[in-house]
Amino acid sequence: MGIPYYPGCTLSTKAQNYDRSGRAVAAALGIELEELAEWQCCGATFPLMVDDSMALIAPTRVLYQAQQAGERVVTLCAICFHVLRRSQALLERDPDMLERINWFIEQEYSGVHVVHLLEVLRDDVGWDKLAEQVVRPLTGVKVAPYYGCLLLRPHDEIGLDDPEEPTILHDLLRALGAEVVDFPFSIECCGSYLTVKEPQVSETLSMDIVASAREHGAQLIATACPLCQFNLDYPQRETEAGFTGNEMPVVYFTQLMAAALGLPEEDWGLDSHYVNPAPAIEGQRALADS
């Protein structure tokens, strides 16, 4: 089955490993992600003001490009997903705005459904089917599922999962054979864009999340958001004093899928992390194998 795919800017630059592992696992499950023929930035922030129609132009262009390709469009980046899904919802309930934006971009956007790859895995593939495809289960690997904000809230427009007690990443990790570590910070904010202007604030928030995962016995944190991945990973980078030995690797869920589905290691994309996740994944599996 082929689905139009919108990678977005971050997955083409800083998070190429998310893109690579995402495409590889989708292909392994028989889902062909067909990159949109032409696309540009989604705008990266959903319009913050009630009447800010200018900020809707970029996402609407993306939605229009997706509409040319099919009835739905799949994303991996939690930020693109958030912006596009909410733009879709806004244009559905506000015909005047739709007309205004269409007039400006000189296109006839009428509607397309934005989905996250996690939803495709849950609704099209199913967790049982996914579990059947696992050839090298993540037995004994203790993973903390970290959702962050943009994948879940505001629930009335996003509606991907329960906004306070989500399970979609939990279910995925269980299907891969991993040991899911429930921890109280799984839906807390990492500080998001404050990493640019107020890095000490986002670092404090992010390291609270990492500390909580560690206290609950996790060896890895799994996320679906490139900004969360950066915010949680970067403050743990190697300094002149070296690593502390207490680091917690932060991976994309697609990277764990690639490992569990037995795909070649170049598809895992573990080479561009500040804290190398490979020992946590392989060391534990080696123990399980022996």
Partner: protein, 128 residues
Amino acid sequence: MKHPAACIQCGDCVEVCPVEKVGGHAIVTFLADPDAADYSVWLCTICWRCHQVCPTGVDIYGLMMERRRHEAAPGGYQTAFERVLRSGLALPISQEELDQVRAAWGLEPVELPPADLVHILLHKSPSE
């Protein structure tokens, strides 16, 4: 937009706010006295948890964004605007650094717009 008068002061929003957690006073300051908003409104990470947990449905996020509209942007934003005016870029990065970063990610060198591009866009009419 649900008015802040609907606030029953249950404190759920405070409990979940990441800004409160690091010592800011985003929501409390705001609901107690909308005129007393300080730099904290610029710390909102737009995580939507207050919106999600509010039992009476006060649109705290909407209020926060409305407040930003009326506040002078913090110095950092002003600096960024000035940089855009000067170089066309919001972040201080040279052509050399930019190309190094791009090369590390396997991308071609980029051709930056002329430094006076913003002035041209702002000050020249189409006929010039």
